[in-house]
Amino acid sequence: MGFDMGHKDRRKFIKLGLYSSAGVLVGSFYAFSKREISPELKKYEDLLKFDWGFIVDTTRCIGCGACVRACKIENDVPDTYFRTWVERYEINNKEIVRVDSPEGAIESFKSNNYSDDIVKAFFVPKLCNHCYNSACTQVCPVGATFHSPDGVVLIDKEHCVGCGYCVQACPYGCRYINHEKGTADKCTLCYHRISKGESPACVNACPRNARVFGNLKDPKSQIRKILHQRRYGLLKPDLGTNPKCYYIGLDLEVK
């Protein structure tokens, strides 16, 4: 008897528990879920007409750091982090390569690293490559980083949990954790600017036209013209990330 009663009680108890927990879940979902309405500034179909690409002409770069300063102000990048930075490569007559980028070259470069025996030296500006097969978007556990329809790798700041997987996955070191916001952060090709027809802040600031930005889907665009005329390279092409940032005059030393 006692066993039967206990059996029924347990069943009742489990049933009650299940129903109540389900009810609490449903209720809390209702309470916490946000039905937001976001401004859709451009339609999906319009964005499909673009595939934004980037060219860096290392033969023209003078390492002034104007791009780094412009990016910092434009996107409110925290100190010691950079969305774009300029690297300097110096090779001396003993074939020793030195690479440096003091503070991302935000204050440009102060002096040469070698006293006088430099045989080759050049600047390489770097930024997110917006790869076609990007490693960073594949590892995100919550789907907070993605390819926009116009080919830019973006981060959903609302959705990102700041786990840092993508920071480790990026072979080019282009991502960082923004500790103020607790999310990952990276170059967006100034998505707010390009969607309004402006060029990215770094392209706008470059005094030497070393950075070219344009639509790869438009056969008449300047970027396509340059890619047809000049010889270019990619950073770490062997990784198969298929980057979309093309470097003109790239040296073998650059990685």
Binding site: Y30, S33, E40, I62, G65, A70, E158, N204
Partner: protein
Amino acid sequence: MKDKSHIFFIFSIIFGLIIIAQIADWLLKPASFDKFGHYRWNAVGEIQSQKIVNQNIKVCRECHKDIYQIHEKDAHYNVPCVDCHGAGNLHVAFHKGGKGAKNISVKQAVLKKEYNLEGCLYCHRKLAARPSDFPQIDVEQHFKFLNVTDQKTKCTDCHNPHEPIFLLTDVRNSRLHPIVYKCNDCHNKPVKSSYSDVPNHPKIFECKDCHAEIVNDFSQRPHHNYVECRTCHLFHKENETIGRIYKNGNAKFCLLCHEKKSFKSETYPPKIEWPSHISKIGYIKNGDEKTCLNCHSNQIHKMVLGNGKSPHKGNWRKEHKNFAFNKTTNKMNSSCSLCHQKDFCSSCHKLEMPHPGDFAEVHKDMIQKKGKTLCYNCHGRQFCAACHE
């Protein structure tokens, strides 16, 4: 049949869980997720709505047309306003008025204007990694050259950053060097007319602006009607000799026009057989580094070394001879090497001076072979007299 109830119970639990999962998915998944892919479509709109900070030069142009017009005609035409004056979003918002203008103080709206040396040196400091065709300044040397004593002197004390090339010189109206800049650097379509026919066109540097003496002299020589300065003085772009005019009268270069070839017209320009031309002269051995200019310099223009300024001042040849003569004790055996390094003369003159090593033996024979009795058939009229009176 008794056992059916518990199967029904299990299935109902699974079904219930699926429904709960579906509801959870519907509720927990943010709106617009998976609309066009595995991401929140609204995030795209949110990122798009970020405010623009760095202003385009077109925005600046709306108000500062006067400065823009000066700026676009000078060497800094490619440097956008934001590089020196700061992002300018507050400045524009403040002066345009509108909703946000009230929250901006006058102080915030002021653009950056004052510059120390460092601001200019971001771009113009001399660094090995900078492309050699980009103007770079070693401040220490620059100040030393100009006798600047106050080390805090700013670049802007002399250079106007809006028109940096317009210094207080005679060439202040000139701007572009014809060898460095080509018309199509600025013009998209091929240019038919000369820049001098266009009113208000920025003036272009011409050779005669600086090298008037040589250009005048050249205009009286036979080459004048057929070649330009640029034909011979090639400008090496994109390498370490940038900024230097190619002025080595290499024989191969002259032979491009003056060598006799079956496919060339016989009449003009005058042609020679090569290499039999030098073997006729006899005195030049094959592989010798004699250039055409050693004999034919009077065909072209006065050969003055070093930017129109000869390192030898005044009547140097005569004076130096006397000076050297008095300095040495053994007057019969005096030679340059007593005072100078062995290659002192040849470092500029490309041949041993004052006479090539084999001069005494060969020069006489050569003149005999050529059948020329006057020195100035090959040399300028004052050439020998400058030393020999």
